[in-house]
């Protein structure tokens, strides 16, 4: 009986045909945002820090960059990656402590993470403008 069941398992999973549950989406976005924060996130941030602390001229150049609406708009995506990664990471720490491991709580907290990431991005965006 069990052997038959095992034989019927799909050999190739088509990720585009499977509707992923929200915790899975939050999880893969945690990974993707992590990679993007590593590159180009880290070098861009160090560039910004260098311009901020380098000299009066580089500071003003950085200010000019950050004033342009185009750059502000583009900053929204790294902000969202950062906040999503932060919130998903905090959820992960709670799961490590065996808090919210049951399915209903895990689903609820993944919704919360998704919403918190978007809300924090909106708030940070509002502060930028």
């Amino acid at each position: 009986m069990e052997a038959k069941l095992h034989n019927k398992r799909p050999k190739h999973l088509n990720l585009f045909k499977i509707r992923q549950p929200l915790p899975a989406v939050v999880s893969i976005l945690h990974r993707i945002s992590g990679v993007l924060l590593f590159f180009p996130g880290i070098p861009l941030m160090l560039c910004g820090l260098q311009m901020m602390l380098g000299s009066q001229q580089s500071f003003e150049a950085l200010q000019d960059y950050l004033r342009s609406p185009m750059v502000k708009l583009m900053l929204l995506s790294p902000l969202w990656f950062f906040f999503h990664h932060l919130c998903a990471g905090i959820r992960h720490l709670f799961l490590d402590l065996h808090i919210g491991v049951a399915l209903p709580q895990a689903r609820a907290s993944s919704k919360l993470v998704f919403a918190a990431g978007l809300i924090l991005t909106t708030l940070a965006g509002l502060m930028l403008w």
Partner: protein, 117 residues
């Protein structure tokens, strides 16, 4: 699920230390960011001189440097996990891992240069 066909290039007693460092570094980064947000909320530097003077305090430089060490170490563990999951040919994986480590070491020196120059 996990079958070891050949000699795995991963090293012994892998796992637990990385798992712990990933979490400890995450908590330290969060604490730094909360404190930084607090400082900026109370007295946000408005011009170059103010930013420069904020980062001229030795405690600020050290805290920021520790924060970046956490970022780099955390990034290494994450990248290593992802590479182990998705890049199976050992030669390619090792090459990319070496590139990641080299980049992070370069960033570390760069950070020190920014903070102490």
């Amino acid at each position: 699920m996990v079958k070891q066909h050949k000699l795995a290039v991963t090293g012994a007693h892998y796992g637990l230390k990385d798992w712990l460092v990933q979490r400890v570094s995450a908590v330290l980064m969060a604490i730094y960011l909360i404190l930084l947000a607090g400082v900026l909320f109370v007295a946000a530097p408005q011009d170059y001189a103010a930013w420069k003077s904020l980062f001229s305090h030795q405690w600020m430089r050290i805290a920021t440097f520790v924060f970046f060490i956490c970022v780099f170490w955390h990034a290494w563990i994450g990248m290593r996990n992802i590479l182990m999951d998705y890049v199976h040919p050992t030669a390619i994986r090792l090459t990319v891992q070496i590139m990641v480590i080299t980049a992070l070491l370069f960033y570390l020196v760069w950070t020190a240069e920014i903070l102490w120059s």
